[in-house]
C-alpha cells in the first residue's frame, strides 16, 4: 500500500494536517498574474516560495513559468524587504522589460509587515517604474485562506486598475476564476458565439498552453491586456464565475467603478452552464444561437444515452470550493451520488451549498471545508465509492483502494489534456462525461466475469 499508515478509524485532528487539499495563497496570486499579457509575477519573500510555485505550475502545464523573487536574506527579514523589492523592480524592468509587474507577498514579508502598496509608491517617486509600465500588488499571507484566496486577491488587484472615463464601452467583464487556459478559451468562444463583447480577466489561454515553434517568448501572446483591465471600469456589468475565486474582484468593480455585477457558479455541467448562457443572452439582449442550443442538446443526449452507467454511482470529490459546487451539481443532475466531498479552503458557506445541492440524494453526504485528503481517504475506507474525482494526489488513494479516478482540478502533474481541452460549458461537460464514463466502463470491462463481458455498452 502506498498510504499504508492510514487507518480506517477516524480520529479528530485539530493541529496536524495530513495530505492537504489546498496549498498557500501566493501560488494562486502567481497563476492569476500570468493571465495578464506581458506580466511578470513577483514573489516578495524568500527564493524558495517562488521556486516552488514556478515548479508546481510548470509541472501542471509543462510550460515555462517565469516569475521573479525578492530573494530575502536573513538581513532583509530583520530590516524589511523594501530594499530588495526596489532593487528587484529596477532589475526586472532592465533585464526582462515586462509591461507590468504583479507582486504578491508571502508569509515572510507579511509577518514582518512589508507594505507593497507603499513600496510601489516609493518606486514610482524614485522613478523605478518606467513610463507606461505598471505594477500591481496583492497581500497574500500564506497563513490565511488558501491558494484560492491568493488567486482571488490578485484578481481583485487587477480590478484595481480599472478606471472610469465616464463613457461605457458596451462590454461585459467576465471573471472566469481559477480555470484552465482551455476553459478560458472556451468561455471566449461561447461569449463570441452569443455575440457579447467581453473583457475577461485573468486569461491564461495562449500563455500556459503555448506552441513549440523554436522560439521562446518570455511573455507569450495571450493574456488580458492592461488596456482592457483599465477599460473594465467602463463595462456595462460584470459576470463573476465562482464566489470564492471571482466575487471579490467583481464587487470591487461595483463599489469602486459602479460596474454592477452578478456572481454565478462556474459553468461546469449542464445547469451551471445554462445559467451562465442565460445570463449572457439577457445582458446581450440577443437570442441564443441554435449552434449553442445544439451543443446543449448533444450533452443532454449523451446523458440520456449513458444514464444506466451513471445512475446512483457513488463518487468522492476533492478540490476547490467553486469547482466542487458546480461539479457536485452536475453529478447530482445526472443521477450520480457524490457522497464524500472535501476542500481544504475554509468557509462554512461551502458546506451549506453542498448540503443543499445533495439534499435529495439517496445517500447521506460527508462534506468538509478545511478538510484534507487523509480524512477523505478515511471516509472512503468507511464507505467505498465507485469513482474518485480530484487532482493527481488522488492517485495514491485510487491505487490503494482500487477506485477509478478522473483527474480534475489542481494540480494535475501526471496527465495531459487539461491545457487544451476545456471542461467548462456544454462541450466541457461532454468531455467530463466522456472521462467519467471512460473510467467506469474500463473498470466494468476489467471486472465483468467472462460470461457477462459486453461488446455493446
Amino acid at each position: 500500500m502506498l498510504l499504508r499508515h492510514t487507518p480506517k478509524e477516524i480520529t479528530e485532528r485539530s493541529a496536524l494536517m495530513i495530505n492537504p487539499a489546498k496549498t498557500c495563497q501566493p501560488i494562486g496570486a502567481m497563476y492569476a498574474a500570468l493571465g495578464i499579457h506581458g506580466c511578470l509575477p513577483h514573489s516578495h519573500g524568500s527564493q524558495g516560495c517562488c521556486a516552488y510555485h514556478r515548479s508546481t505550475l510548470t509541472r501542471h502545464y509543462k510550460e515555462p513559468v517565469s516569475a521573479a523573487t525578492s530573494s530575502f536574506t536573513e538581513g532583509s527579514s530583520v530590516f524589511g524587504g523594501q530594499a530588495n523589492m526596489l532593487q528587484a523592480i529596477e532589475n526586472i524592468f532592465a533585464v526582462y522589460n515586462p509591461v507590468i509587474i504583479a507582486a504578491h507577498t508571502t508569509c515572510l514579508s507579511e509577518t514582518i509587515g512589508d507594505d507593497l502598496k507603499q513600496i510601489r509608491k516609493k518606486a514610482i517617486t524614485e522613478g523605478k517604474i518606467p513610463e507606461g509600465k505598471y505594477m500591481i500588488s496583492a497581500s497574500t499571507p500564506s497563513y490565511v485562506g488558501s491558494h484560492v484566496t491568493g488567486f482571488s486577491t490578485m484578481v481583485k488587484s487587477m480590478a484595481g486598475l480599472a478606471e472610469n472615463t465616464g463613457k461605457k464601452n458596451g462590454k461585459v467583464n467576465i471573471i472566469p476564476g481559477w480555470v484552465e487556459p482551455s476553459d478560458m478559451e472556451e468561455i471566449k468562444r461561447l461569449t463570441k458565439m452569443i455575440g457579447v463583447k467581453t473583457i475577461m480577466f485573468p486569461d491564461t489561454s495562449g500563455v500556459l498552453n503555448g506552441p513549440l515553434s523554436g522560439e521562446y517568448k518570455m511573455f507569450p501572446d495571450g493574456g488580458t491586456t492592461v488596456e482592457e483591465l483599465i477599460s473594465a471600469g467602463d463595462s456595462i456589468g460584470t459576470l463573476a464565475l465562482g464566489e470564492w475565486c471571482s466575487a471579490a474582484a467583481a464587487r470591487e468593480l461595483d463599489t469602486k467603478n459602479k460596474v454592477p455585477c452578478q456572481v454565478l457558479d462556474m459553468p461546469f455541467g449542464l445547469k451551471a452552464t445554462d445559467r451562465f448562457i442565460d445570463a449572457l443572452r439577457i445582458i446581450a439582449g440577443v437570442s441564443v444561437p441554435d449552434e449553442l442550443s445544439l451543443e446543449r442538446g448533444q450533452l443532454v443526449d449523451m446523458i440520456s444515452d449513458m444514464h444506466q452507467y451513471l445512475y446512483h454511482k457513488k463518487v468522492a470529490l476533492v478540490g476547490d470550493p467553486d469547482q466542487l459546487i458546480a461539479m457536485t451539481e452536475f453529478l447530482v443532475s445526472i443521477d450520480m451520488c457524490p457522497i464524500h466531498i472535501v476542500t481544504g479552503t475554509p468557509g462554512k458557506e461551502f458546506e451549506r451549498r453542498i448540503k443543499e445541492i445533495t439534499k435529495d440524494m439517496p445517500f447521506a453526504v460527508n462534506v468538509r471545508a478545511k478538510g484534507d485528503m487523509f480524512l477523505l481517504h478515511q471516509w472512503i475506507k468507511n464507505e467505498p465509492v465507485d469513482l474518485l474525482i480530484g487532482n493527481t494526489y488522488c492517485k495514491y488513494i485510487a491505487r490503494d483502494e482500487d477506485i477509478p479516478l478522473v483527474r480534475w482540478g489542481f494540480p494535475i502533474l501526471d496527465r495531459q489534456g487539461h491545457q487544451y481541452f476545456p471542461t467548462v460549458g456544454y462541450k466541457g461537460a461532454l468531455r467530463l462525461l466522456e472521462k467519467i464514463l471512460g473510467v467506469l466502463l474500463d473498470r466494468k470491462d476489467r471486472d465483468d466475469p467472462e460470461s457477462k463481458f459486453e461488446l455493446v455498452l
Binding site: 487507518p7 489546498k22 496549498t23 524558495g48 521556486a51 515548479s55 526586472i92 499571507p141 487523509f374
Partner: protein
C-alpha cells in the same frame, strides 16, 4: 575515446559570450555576475577564482530554492521512517510533497511515510499568538496516529520570525514519549543564500540527534557509509545492488531510502564514501573527528567512475580477495555497458551539452557525457561553493559573509568512548604514499576543457542567451528551466529529478543514461518546429492537381 573529443576546437569565443551575457545588466548586477562567470583556464590545480555561494540579486530569475528546500526537501525528505512535520503555513509542506523522485521502499519493517505530507497549517492566529501549542498538539496527533520511531519538525519562515521555540517543544515531546526521538530543524527559508544552507542545517541536526544513537554491532566485513546519495530515480538502489555484489556492507546512506536506524548506526562504519561533496563533506569530517572514520570522495555517476570508485573502496580495505571480487564484478558489468555505449556513441559522438545543477551533479554527469563522446561546453552549480569549483584546497581562504555567518558550524571532538581510528597514522601514510587520496576533491574546473564557461547561479536570462549563442545539443538543469529551453528546440534533461527516468548511477544507470540522451538528442520532434507553409511561405505557382 573521450580524448578524441577533447581535441575538438571550441567553436565560439568565450570572452564574447561572457560579454553578451552581461551586456543587458545594470552595471551593479553586471559587476557581480562577471565574477560568477569564469572562462575556464584550468591547468592541473591552478584554477582562476570564481565567486560562489553568494546572494542572488533580487528580481533576477534564479534557479535557486531556499534553505527549507535544502533541509526538508533534499536531506530529510528521502528518509522513509521519520514523520516529517513542517511547522508553518501549508504551502511549504505541500510543495515538497513527493516532487523530488527520491525513491523509497518500505522494506521489511513496512515503515514508509514518503507518500504523506504533514503540516501544522499555521493560521493567522498562530502567527499572532504563537504556534508552539499547535505544534505540540500536531506532534502528539502524529504520535497517536502512527507511533513512528522518530518525528522531525521543520521551521518555515514565519516560525523564526515569531520566535516559536521549536527545539524546546520537540525536546519536551521526546521526553514525554520516551520511545520516539523528536527534534527540530531551524531551516527558515530566508537563511543563507540557497539550498546549501539547508543541507548544512539538516546534516548538523542528524549528526547531533541521531548519529551514534545505536551502538549495536552491525554484521559485515567491508562496512561503509555512503554520503550524499539521495536515491533520485533509484540511483541508490543500483549502487546498493553493486555493493551487495561486491560484498560491501552499506551501513548508512545519507540519505537516499534511509532509515532512522541507519543514521543512528553510521558510526559503526569503517569508511565514509562521499558522493555529493557539496551537501555533506562536513559530515564526513565530523564522522572522522568524532569516531575516527576516514573518508574518500567517490562518484558512481558514469560506468568508468563507478569502477574507479569501487576499486578505491577495495584498496582502502586492502584485502586481495576483496580487490579481486571487485574486479570480477566490474568485468561482469562492463561488457553490456560498453555494448550500449558503442551503439549510442554512433549517434552522440561530438555533440555538446550544458549542465547547470546542484552541488556536484554538474561535475559528476560530465563523466557520462564524456563516455558518450559528448562535450560539456558550459556548466555551473546552483548552490555550489568555491571548493566545489576549484577544489578543497581553497577552503581555508573562503570568506564568511553576512549570509553564511549564522549557519551553525558544529564543534565536534573525539568521542571519549567510541573514537576509534580505523586506520593508524602509519597505515594512512602508507596508502597516501602509494597515491591514495583521502578527503580530496579537486572540483569541477580542472575536469573541464579550456575555454569552456563555468557559471555560478546561472539565471533564466543567461540560460536563454547561452543556448542562443552556443547552441548545445542538450541542456541539463531543473524543472523550472526545462520548457523555456525546449521552446528553443533544444532538448532539456532534468538532472535534479531526472524527469521521469533513472537510475543513472552505477552500471545499469550508465546504460539508462546513454539511452535517454540518445532518445532526447535524436527525437524526431525537434524537426517539426516549422510547418511547411513556414518553411516555404511562397505559394507554388503550379498547383499539382492530378
Amino acid at each position: 575515446m573521450a580524448t578524441t573529443t577533447k581535441k575538438k576546437i571550441v567553436q565560439w569565443d568565450p570572452a564574447h559570450v561572457k560579454a553578451e551575457l552581461l551586456a543587458k545588466y545594470p552595471s551593479k548586477v553586471a559587476r557581480k555576475r562577471s565574477k560568477q562567470i569564469m572562462i575556464n583556464e584550468a591547468l592541473g590545480n591552478e584554477t582562476p577564482e570564481i565567486m560562489a555561494n553568494v546572494r542572488t540579486t533580487p528580481g533576477i530569475i534564479t534557479m535557486r530554492g531556499c534553505t527549507y528546500a535544502g533541509c526538508k526537501g533534499v536531506i530529510m525528505g528521502p528518509t522513509r521512517d521519520i514523520v516529517n512535520i513542517v511547522h508553518g503555513p501549508v504551502g511549504c509542506s505541500f510543495f515538497a510533497w513527493l516532487t523530488r523522485r527520491n525513491q523509497t521502499n518500505a522494506g521489511t519493517d513496512g515503515e514508509n511515510y514518503m507518500n504523506y505530507c504533514f503540516s501544522t497549517d499555521m493560521q493567522d492566529s498562530d502567527i499572532i499568538f504563537g504556534g508552539e501549542k499547535k505544534l505540540e498538539k500536531a506532534i502528539q496527533e502524529a504520535y497517536d496516529l502512527f507511533h513512528p520511531r522518530s518525528i522531525a519538525v521543520f521551521a518555515t519562515c514565519p516560525v523564526g520570525l515569531i520566535g516559536d521555540d521549536i527545539h524546546t517543544v520537540t525536546r519536551r515531546m521526546k521526553e514525554k514519549f520516551g520511545d520516539c526521538n523528536v527534534y527540530a530543524f531551524s531551516c527558515e527559508g530566508y537563511k543563507g543564500v540557497s539550498q546549501s544552507a539547508g543541507h548544512h542545517i539538516a546534516n548538523n541536526q542528524v549528526f547531533r540527534h541521531i548519529v551514534g544513537e545505536n551502538d549495536e554491532e552491525k554484521p559485515g566485513k567491508y562496512k561503509i557509509n555512503l554520503l550524499g546519495e539521495y536515491n533520485i530515480g533509484g540511483d541508490g538502489f543500483e549502487i546498493d545492488r553493486i555493493f551487495k555484489k561486491c560484498g560491501i556492507t552499506n551501513i548508512a546512506t545519507f540519505s537516499g531510502n534511509s532509515t532512522y536506524d541507519q543514521f543512528a548506526s553510521a558510526h559503526k562504519a569503517d569508511l565514509s564514501a562521499v558522493m555529493c561533496h557539496r551537501s555533506i563533506n562536513y559530515v564526513a569530517d565530523m564522522l572522522e573527528t568524532k569516531y575516527g572514520i576516514p573518508w574518500i570522495k567517490v562518484n558512481f555517476i558514469g560506468a568508468d567512475a563507478t569502477a574507479k570508485s569501487l576499486r578505491k573502496i577495495a584498496h582502502y580495505f586492502g584485502d586481495q580477495e576483496f580487490i579481486d571480487r571487485v574486479e570480477e564484478v566490474i568485468a561482469e558489468e562492463m561488457p553490456k555497458v560498453l555494448a550500449v555505449r558503442t551503439d549510442v556513441r554512433t549517434r552522440t559522438e561530438g555533440k555538446t551539452a550544458m549542465i547547470f545543477v546542484g552541488g556536484s551533479r554538474a561535475h559528476h554527469y560530465q563523466e557520462l557525457f564524456n563516455e558518450m563522446g559528448m562535450r560539456v561546453i558550459s556548466a555551473g552549480y546552483e548552490f555550489g561553493h568555491r571548493d566545489d569549483y576549484e577544489g578543497r584546497q581553497v577552503i581555508p581562504d573562503l570568506k564568511v559573509d553576512a549570509d553564511s555567518r549564522n549557519i551553525e558550524e558544529l564543534e565536534v571532538e573525539a568521542d571519549e568512548t567510541r573514537f576509534n581510528p580505523r586506520k593508524s597514522a602509519e597505515e594512512i601514510k602508507a596508502l597516501e604514499d602509494a597515491g591514495y587520496k583521502f578527503k580530496q576533491y579537486d572540483g569541477l574546473a580542472p575536469d573541464m576543457e579550456n575555454g569552456t564557461l563555468i557559471i555560478d547561479d546561472l539565471n533564466q536570462y543567461e540560460a536563454e542567451k547561452l543556448v542562443e549563442l552556443m547552441k548545445p545539443d542538450i541542456f541539463c538543469a531543473g524543472i523550472k528551466e526545462k520548457y523555456s529551453i525546449q521552446k528553443l528546440g533544444v532538448p532539456m534533461k532534468q538532472l535534479h529529478s531526472y524527469d521521469s527516468g533513472g537510475p543513472y548511477a552505477g552500471f545499469e544507470g550508465a546504460i539508462n543514461f546513454y539511452q535517454e540522451i540518445d532518445r532526447l538528442v535524436n527525437s524526431k520532434v525537434w524537426s517539426y518546429m516549422k510547418a511547411p507553409w513556414q518553411e516555404n511561405p511562397q505559394l507554388s505557382a503550379t498547383y499539382g492537381w492530378e
